[in-house]
Amino acid sequence: MIKIDNIDKWYDDFHVLKSCSLEVERGEVIVICGPSGSGKSTLIKCVNALEPVDSGRIVVEETDVTAKGTKLPLVRARIGMVFQHFELFPHKTVIENLMMGQIKVLNRSRDEARRKAESLLERVGLSDQADKYPSALSGGQQQRVAIARALAMDPIAMCFDEPTSALDPEMISEVLDVMVELAREGMTMMVVTHEMGFARKVARRVVFMDQGEVKEVAATETFFNNPETDRAKEFLSKILAH
């Protein structure tokens, strides 16, 4: 469903992504890991063209995201995105955060958008927070709202950019629980994370990136029990040590 084909990307003279390729099937959960600065966040931001690529192609369900003239807003609206620092709109209440895209992009009526928003808030367990501003919520609550905001657009796939790395330890599980549930329901997901427990639980495959390259793509159990590259072994030993 998502096909990343040999993409390259530069920041000035820094080569962030080096001929990366990856295919994600419908309903598949893929975890992308690797040391910081390895390009994993950039890679998933390329999927909905938040970061343009310099060469190569990315196709999402027949739509070439990287082609000139592609209507990016419509492509992006179909791919949910969750950010490291939540990025809720601070000047809007929780429920307005969930309604904005539905009204402005999908042209839903206010009533329809509100109903959808309310049901999603209930789903992530935050119905009672609907009329608060994001700053009044804990980090874990904000991230659950952010997931609900993405789901409000009825996405065909979800991208997560280190969704738990800005959270206090005791809030990580409430966010992961929502994500696990989503995965179980068959959502196609690309998740950049260091949460290896989450990976083992729901990921079908794990992608290991290092220095802008996709070093390893392997079935989850294979990756953890028998990583191919030395870099992946080293990375795993560090990250599983604590």
Partner: protein, 238 residues
């Protein structure tokens, strides 16, 4: 110090009337110029943040040009030079038939000058917004224009209420320069009262107090606006 105090001069006609007429012109210049500065400055500030490099450069050039020439020089150029540079008919109209040319010129000059300063505030307000917050807007399918309308501008204007307040106060004070081309605003009237009565102390005190009162009122009003519009959870919010 040898000085004959005479505070009652301030309450005599025509001097009392002069003061109030001066205050009125000060406010008329400041408010009209502020409208220009706010609209033009917002536009230029926004243009300084767009992806197109040429547009950004042109907007930056405007800011540098208007910021690095003293307002008085700009005012004289608008008043004495610009009418000569206009197409002949328009130039003639400006020189002969435009109503209240001193007032109009002062407003345009002050507005164009302050626009450069407002533009800087708007730009910095927009640029303090994290890239991923804008990305979050793009990710739910907003167009770049919509991210300005619904995310970047609503947030940045709330952030910049305090600096915009001080820009308004600056325009209010800078309106005194209009006296150099003959607008009889508050400072000019105080000077005129001094010239007529030799009661400089009283005249300048009156002007000073009037400026202070207006400043105080503006500050209080803007504090109210700031509290009403402030984003919950931002620095200084309750």
């Amino acid at each position: 110090m040898n000085y004959n105090w005479n505070w009652s001069v301030l309450f005599q006609e025509p001097y009392l009337g002069w003061l109030f007429s001066g205050l009125q012109w000060t406010l008329l210049v400041a408010i009209a110029a502020w409208v220009i500065a706010f609209v033009l400055g917002s536009a230029i500030g926004i243009l300084r943040t767009v992806p197109n490099r040429l547009v950004r450069t042109l907007a930056a050039a405007y800011v540098e040009l208007f910021r690095n020439i003293p307002l008085l020089v700009q005012l004289f150029i608008w008043y004495f030079v610009v009418p000569e540079l206009l197409p002949e008919e328009l130039g003639l109209w400006v020189k002969r038939d435009m109503p209240n040319p001193e007032y109009v010129t002062a407003v345009v000059a002050l507005g164009a000058y302050t626009a450069a300063r407002v533009a800087e505030q708007v730009r910095s307000g927009i640029q303090t917004i994290r890239k991923d917050l804008v990305n979050a807007g793009l990710a739910i399918g907003l167009t770049p224009l919509q991210t300005y309308l619904y995310i970047r501008l609503p947030i940045s204007y709330r952030i910049i209420v305090p600096p915009l307040t001080s820009e308004f106060l600056t325009i209010f004070k800078n309106s005194s320069l209009a006296l150099t081309i003959g607008v009889l605003e508050l400072t000019a009237q105080a000077r005129q009262i001094e010239n007529y009565t030799f009661q400089g102390f009283e005249a300048f005190t009156a002007a000073t107090v009037l400026y202070l009162v207006i400043t105080l009122l503006v500050v209080l009003l803007m504090r109210l606006i700031d509290q009403k519009t402030r984003i919950p959870g931002s620095v200084g919010a309750n």
